[in-house]
């Protein structure tokens, strides 16, 4: 009888310990997964920054060319990201191209970065 009691005591203690352990593990795993998500997001943002800088450098000298040919050297869509470039034209004494570059995450479809680049066209297009 005494022996049974001792085993029950041990098992109760052990189950409580397992419960606490599971609780702490759940919190820890949750924190780790959040940390991992933030890390992936930071890496994506850094990658996007470089991609967008490359395209922005190119768009600074844009002068009304066919956009598909002009950005032929760049990969605008891949498994990780999707880059959209929209150009609006303002005509006055000179022609002004405003390029809106949007970097989107391919999976979540969230816009990670967005910038505008201005370039002044030559008089030929006026």
């Amino acid at each position: 009888m005494k022996n049974k009691k001792s085993i029950y005591g041990f098992l109760t203690e052990f189950v409580i310990m397992l419960f606490v352990f599971a609780l702490v593990s759940t919190v820890a795993v949750n924190l780790f997964s959040k940390g991992k998500m933030l890390s992936v997001e930071t890496i994506r943002t850094n990658e996007g920054l470089i991609v967008i800088e490359n395209i922005a450098e190119r768009m600074k000298t844009y002068n009304g060319e066919d956009l598909n040919n002009y950005l032929n050297d760049f990969s605008l869509v891949n498994d990780n990201y999707n880059v959209e470039v929209n150009v609006s034209v303002t005509k006055g004494n000179y022609i002004l191209y405003n390029s809106n570059i949007i970097y989107t995450d391919s999976i979540s479809r969230n816009v990670i970065l967005e910038i505008n680049v201005l370039s002044i066209g030559s008089e030929d297009y006026d």
Binding site: N3, F14, F32, G35, K36, T42, N46, I50, E57, K60
Partner: protein
């Protein structure tokens, strides 16, 4: 005798528990280290490329030359030149008075990289940097 057998089983169960916890901590620390390394690599690639881009953008007179078999980005000022180059897995820079012959080891380390490439094509300077498997390319308009 029976008492000691019970104690032994209890101890064995606790030991297994402690061992599992230990494995979990090791796994978690390894995962955390990997996460930090990945972040660091990504940051270092961006920082090195932005450093090079800033150099190009800030300078009015810049050229790419081959010095002692190494491609160097040279920022030319009135009385001195700033050489930026890759040597022994390190991106280095050195300031020298015009035409002074320096040793590649003399440079000050900017960043440690696994690979670096520099080329000038039609008004653009293309930089390629690599840390581990991560490669980033940046094209800067002169």
């Amino acid at each position: 005798m029976r008492y000691s057998k019970e104690l032994l089983i209890k101890l064995l169960v606790y030991t297994i528990m402690v061992f599992c916890s230990f494995l979990l901590v090791i796994y978690a620390s390894s995962a955390y280290r990997n996460m930090i390394d990945e972040n660091n690599n990504s940051e270092n690639l961006v920082v090195s490329l932005n450093y090079l881009k800033t150099k190009v953008k800030m300078s009015e007179n810049i050229e790419v030359i081959n010095y002692k078999g190494v491609d160097c980005l040279v920022v030319i000022y009135d009385k001195y030149k700033n050489y930026i180059y890759y040597d022994n897995n390190q991106l280095k820079e050195v300031y020298v008075i015009n035409n002074y012959e320096f040793d590649l080891n003399d440079g000050e380390v900017i960043m440690t990289l696994d690979d670096y490439d520099l080329e000038e094509i039609g008004g653009y300077i293309n930089f390629t940097v690599q840390i581990d498997d991560e490669i980033r390319k940046l094209s800067v308009n002169k």
